[in-house]
Symmetry: C2
Subunit: 197 residues, 2 copies
């Protein structure tokens, strides 16, 4: 409809999650009309990130160093290991700011129906870590979905065999949440996991 | 929080309209984890569009050619000239598919409060066009905002002096719109602009 370069840019912008044809059109025109400098900077950042960012050799999160900042840090507690599904989960926990241990990123969850087995989510690498590091507790922070729970259960079984303490983060009513808007599954879980005061 | 390259990418993604810190984070991680090829293609498209796309010499819309496709076309009606505010408006009208004339893009609207006068929106270039081309009707399709209406009024006065027929696109209840959800201003306009059947 427009010139080929603009059409191509609109098409390329649709790789971004949550961006459909209308948003892509708005983004392309906005950048070309009002922010070419920002567009160049974005192109440059994309290229350097694609070329430079790989996986942390220890925890598998995204980083441009051989080891990510958390794994390389001397100040983090080596005895705690939090297992999450994605690098975004690491970021969310880091932004909460209360956890001082280390991480292991599965980059997915067990899902036999999609052909994702233990070897695909780095369970071998996780078990090897438990041998080489003084981990005393594994904190399972996989998502509270069917697959996430199955993955947590699988890891807990393997880790218990290795004699390591395994915990699961709490699930229930979120802070600031109002009971009347909480779904039934969460409420039922919150009741069954109640603790004495 | 993450490595510098990823932080920089998240920051760079925020130049996109409608993208805040959370969306930028999601986009950056999604691209790096699942679609590096798409990210490279996007970087490439951005660079080529920024380098190659400029303004059409006649109608001022965005194009990589000296003249845009509409202006260069032999099949478009030279006697009709539709005046719009942005290249996105051209695209919207082209997608509707019923208009066969040519365009002139103001790239803005008159806004004395922001220091935008007639020379900033290419009125001189528009009047020059009227001299050199066989335009018999100007269709004003600026937005129905205070500034858009003022711009339309200003252009109509100048064009009438040049002896050219000036029309304004119709404003009223959109097709498929339900009366009960239409705002009062639009409804009042629809009543005052009613036409006999």
């Amino acid at each position: 409809m427009f010139s080929p370069l603009i059409d191509e840019l609109m098409h390329a912008l649709k790789v971004l999650p949550g961006v459909g044809p209308k948003s892509a059109q708005r983004m392309a025109l906005q950048l070309l009309e009002h922010n070419r400098e920002g567009a160049s900077r974005l192109a440059d950042s994309l290229q350097r990130a694609v070329a430079g960012v790989a996986r942390c050799g220890r925890c598998r999160t995204l980083t441009e160093q051989p080891l990510c900042g958390v794994c390389a840090s001397e100040r983090r507690d080596n005895t705690l290991l939090c297992v999450v599904e994605t690098p975004a989960d690491v970021l969310a926990i880091e932004q909460a700011g209360s956890y001082q241990g280390k991480y292991f990123v599965l980059l997915g969850h067990l899902s036999p129906i999609d052909g994702v087995g233990p070897e695909d989510i780095g369970i071998d690498q996780l078990l090897a870590l438990l041998q080489t590091e003084p981990v005393s507790e594994i904190i399972l922070a996989t998502n509270p979905t069917v697959e996430g729970e199955a993955t947590a259960f699988y890891i807990s079984e393997r880790a218990k065999k290795a004699g390591i303490n395994v915990t699961r983060i709490a699930h229930g009513v979120p802070l600031g949440g109002e009971l009347e808007y909480i779904d039934g599954g969460t409420l039922a879980h919150a009741f069954s996991s109640r603790r004495s005061l």
